[in-house]
Symmetry: C2
Subunit: 574 residues, 2 copies
């Protein structure tokens, strides 16, 4: 056990790339780090605001966690830090716990990050990453879409300068109706102009820049737009005194590095925060690994899922220990890091140094930043989380999956993020059970001149009165035993002259104990009617299992290797 | 909608058999009813005691419910009434609700029967019977085994005459240790002698009787043993005055027919009792339909699952309206009814008349019946619910299913029946997801001289360096997308010279939207490496779905009808 738990530590991914680290990689990493640092400063402040925390915590969450991930993570180019949906999850959970426990929100946020990090570590050490598989694509896309909408609407608080709050659509809509008329005009001008500028910079500007430089450079440069907005806004505030005229600014940020301290963890607090911590660790992991996987595929690198869990777990624990909140791998900053040429996680180390310098020397300037500008950067960033083509694809491909997606979106919007994800997971599993409980079956016959058997209603195949072959296109398990029993009975009622029934098992990947009992009973019933039951194309693992209970001995017929053999044997003249 | 809801009523099963009812059927039914009535009287009293209710309610639960089932149910020979496990569920639920609501247990039991009946009716009308599929064989057997143990131990209260109570093994064990020394000697003698007699009558006596009569008659006669025990015990009590010496008897039973009255139903009460009502309706249905199915198969009759739900729902509502408690189809009495020659549900009507006569004229005698004798009949009856060979079969066949069974048994014994069934269902679904998340895959090649492809590690097959065929033995869905992605990558790393990858889809019964996206991404990655991806043996329904998103156009290779074609096409000399 100790060996299993320690093995990830003796196989640190960092040891691998550090061995071959050289000057050219160092230059590339430093350059990428510079660009990511500039991009990460406003993002850190914005997501701290989204998480309901003082702006400095955003910077703190972007220093030690980056070092921790660089040491333990397996992706070469993933950029870790605060991200929108995780900040929203943190804000919701902490808001609730603040009311019940009376503890301050920062302590609660740190505790939540600690718990999430510990869960990720445990999942990584025990190789339980597969639990995240429960979050299917419909649930993840549905969750991100709806969370994006909620986050965007929530930013209207800062963009319009109104006291808006709420965890779901009805609450936010109610707040908007109530306070909409209190909009602070100057704040709204700053906010709306920022949105327009950022939106323009995202696509039209990129297209324009493409005329002068490579597409990658244009895209990276356009991602610097938030920084220019921040710089311009700070200059405007300091020169025009906008903060005196009621435009809310970030305000004093203590300069310096974060101090190290563990949040105190009581059983009561841990049990209150455990459900959101589970949610954050699963969603954070799913989000991050898909980014890491996409980037690794581009450079033919490998991602090791369990190391990713260790890396993200360490990052969250580091965040908790240094006054930060929950973090994970972010999509846009990882892409910038990758495009700017980062070679190794050393880029993350350099970024951490950059952010540390910013929190030492830039805080007096950042204090003048209008909250409306931060709100605008969040607003524009999260709108790109909404991907209509993904929703359309799902609609076209599977109505079931679309239903699960809509249930997730609807529940997240109307009730809240946690209820939405839970409902989505329950819906996906229920729909899967429902589908497999009514499996597709087909009566098949041979296509003439081949050994190939196909559905008699779709293809022109040979048929034989005394021999029926039924292909069942599903594993047999407790959920479909009773349905299949009804199908068997109906089939026999329609086929009076039958003497042999062949179950073609090419689509049967597993037979559970409920189903094997049912098959034995059916075999008995067929025997009473003078019909022999045979199996064909039984897969190796299924056959191995049937042998354990002497199935072949109890079967009235034969288990054939191939359907062709069974057909030849049973249809030849007696 | 109205048509759908009414159709079951216009197709009453009773209309079918009443049309062809004749004197010979009437004689057979009357004979069977007489035997079942004699058997049902002590059972009714015993299960009322188990349900924590006055003995008369057991008789009431065996009058109107039988008429209701005869009208709506689809089984010809099922005998409905109080049964052990449902009585236990009712007792537990009502005991809890009694403390929180303060209402008397009889009202609560009637309300619970009403809710369970309504749930069964709704499931029957909306054809939702498939929900009961969730209870797989391991869960049902585990639940019944553990409930049998709990019920048997609980009867020690009556058999030993001690104030024992408890809903799980630790509570009962604690009670036994505490009160064991208070055992009332005379009561214990009556109880233990009854157990020994009933146990002897069950097997040794049947074997003895077989020497003189047919096996069926011997078995039916031996099932009358509880009645003889009851008669002998009543005679002993009235002659020796055992009740004066501290042997607890059933006591005064009001003679007469049940009065009709609906239990009042408040929202609060309904929501408190809803979880146990769901449990009772599902378990009652699963129990009953498996008995009905077994008996119907013997006489080549049909069971209509949705009519069964209507029949059982009507029976429970009738029980609630006439001072009874939750009922369902019972195994032993149905077998007796069947073996005694019952032809139609008219036997049930006659049985109801018999029980009504008993509650009119026999109650003064039944009042003298020692509770220890009733406890002994329950004790012996439920011990037969424990089927070690079923548990052994599951152990041999599937360790997963065995684990789910043990979790159910453990939780029922240590926590309680509801927690146990819930844990069993969650365990079954989790284990199924875990299994399907790591599907069996095999690299296959053709068996020489045939069109048949088999695992290269199990069979002697042809191989080809440039062409690899991977057979995936599982539907592709959100749960196994990431695992398969890893498998793909590992496969490619091992096979440097490959130019064509064929995915043999004979085991793929469904591809969900998460998986189709992943396949498209994998196809893209292969293209980057100059490898073509092909599919073969894709099933019709899967192919139809792939067409919706123009999968074939995006695929770098071809979708072949058969693996044989794909192999011939791709391995032939260029």
């Amino acid at each position: 056990m100790i060996k299993i738990l320690c093995s990830p530590l003796t196989k640190l991914p960092a040891l691998k790339w550090l061995k071959i680290y050289n000057t050219s990689a160092l230059q590339a990493d430093a350059m990428a780090a510079l660009i990511v640092t500039i991009m990460l400063i406003p993002q850190s402040l914005a997501y701290a605001m989204l998480a309901g925390l003082p702006p400095a915590t955003g910077l703190y969450a972007s220093i030690l966690p980056l070092l921790a991930y660089a040491l333990f993570g397996s992706s070469r180019t993933l950029a870790v830090g605060p991200v929108a949906v995780i900040s929203l999850l943190s804000a919701n959970a902490v808001g609730l716990a603040h009311i019940t426990s009376g503890l301050d929100v920062l302590t609660l946020s740190m505790t939540l990050a600690l718990l999430s990090g510990m869960l990720m570590l445990i999942m990584g050490l025990l190789k339980l990453g597969f639990i995240a598989n429960l979050l299917g694509r419909p649930v993840v896309i549905g969750f991100i879409t709806a969370a994006g909408i909620l986050i965007a609407l929530g930013q209207l608080k800062h963009i319009l300068g109104i006291p808006l709050s709420g965890h779901n659509l009805p609450e936010l809509a109610h707040g908007l109706l109530q306070y909409g008329s209190d909009t602070h005009l100057l704040t709204a001008v700053v906010g709306v102009v920022s949105i327009v500028f950022l939106w323009w910079a995202r696509t039209p500007l990129t297209h324009l820049l493409c005329c002068f430089m490579s597409a990658t450079a244009a895209s990276t440069l356009s991602k610097m737009a938030p920084v220019s907005a921040v710089v311009i806004a700070i200059l405007l505030v300091s020169n025009l005194g906008l903060d005196q005229q009621g435009v809310k600014v970030v305000g004093h940020i203590p300069s310096g590095l974060p101090s190290l301290a563990w949040p105190e963890l009581s059983w009561l607090l841990a049990s209150t925060l455990m459900p959101p911590a589970i949610m954050i660790s699963l969603i954070g992991y799913v989000e991050s690994i898909s980014v890491a996987q996409t980037l690794a595929n581009k450079r033919r690198q490998q991602i090791e899922p369990n190391h990713e869990l260790l890396g993200l777990g360490a990052a969250n624990i580091a965040s908790a220990a240094s006054g930060g909140f929950a973090v994970t791998g972010g999509f846009s900053r990882s892409v910038v890091n990758f495009d700017a040429g980062a070679q190794t996680p050393m880029a993350g180390v350099f970024t951490a140094v950059g952010i540390a310098l910013a929190s030492l020397y830039l805080t007096p300037y950042l204090a003048l930043l209008p909250k409306a500008v931060l709100g605008a950067t969040i607003f524009v960033a999260v709108l790109t989380l909404i991907e209509p083509h993904e929703i359309k694809f799902t609609w076209k491909y599977s109505k079931h999956d679309f239903a699960a997606m809509m249930i997730t979106i609807g529940m997240v919007l109307c009730v809240g993020v946690e209820a939405g994800v839970m409902a989505g997971v329950v819906a996906t599993i229920s729909l899967m059970l429902w589908r497999t409980s009514r499996p597709h079956t087909a009566i098949v016959g041979p296509i003439s001149g081949s050994e190939h058997f196909r559905n008699i209603t779709r293809h022109n195949v040979a048929q034989f009165e005394q021999v029926i072959t039924l292909r069942i296109d599903e594993s047999l398990f407790f959920g479909n035993v009773r349905y299949l029993d009804n199908q068997f009975n109906a089939l026999l009622a329609q086929s009076p002259g039958v003497e042999h029934l062949i179950l073609m098992a090419s689509g049967i990947n597993h037979i559970d104990s409920s189903a094997v009992k049912s098959l034995l009973e059916f075999n008995q019933r067929l025997q009473d009617k003078g019909i022999q039951m045979h199996l064909s194309e039984v897969k190796g693992p299924v056959l191995d299992r049937l042998k354990r209970v002497n199935f072949a001995e109890q079967l009235t017929g034969t288990i054939y290797l191939s359907q062709h053999q069974a057909w030849q044997d049973l249809t030849k003249a007696p």
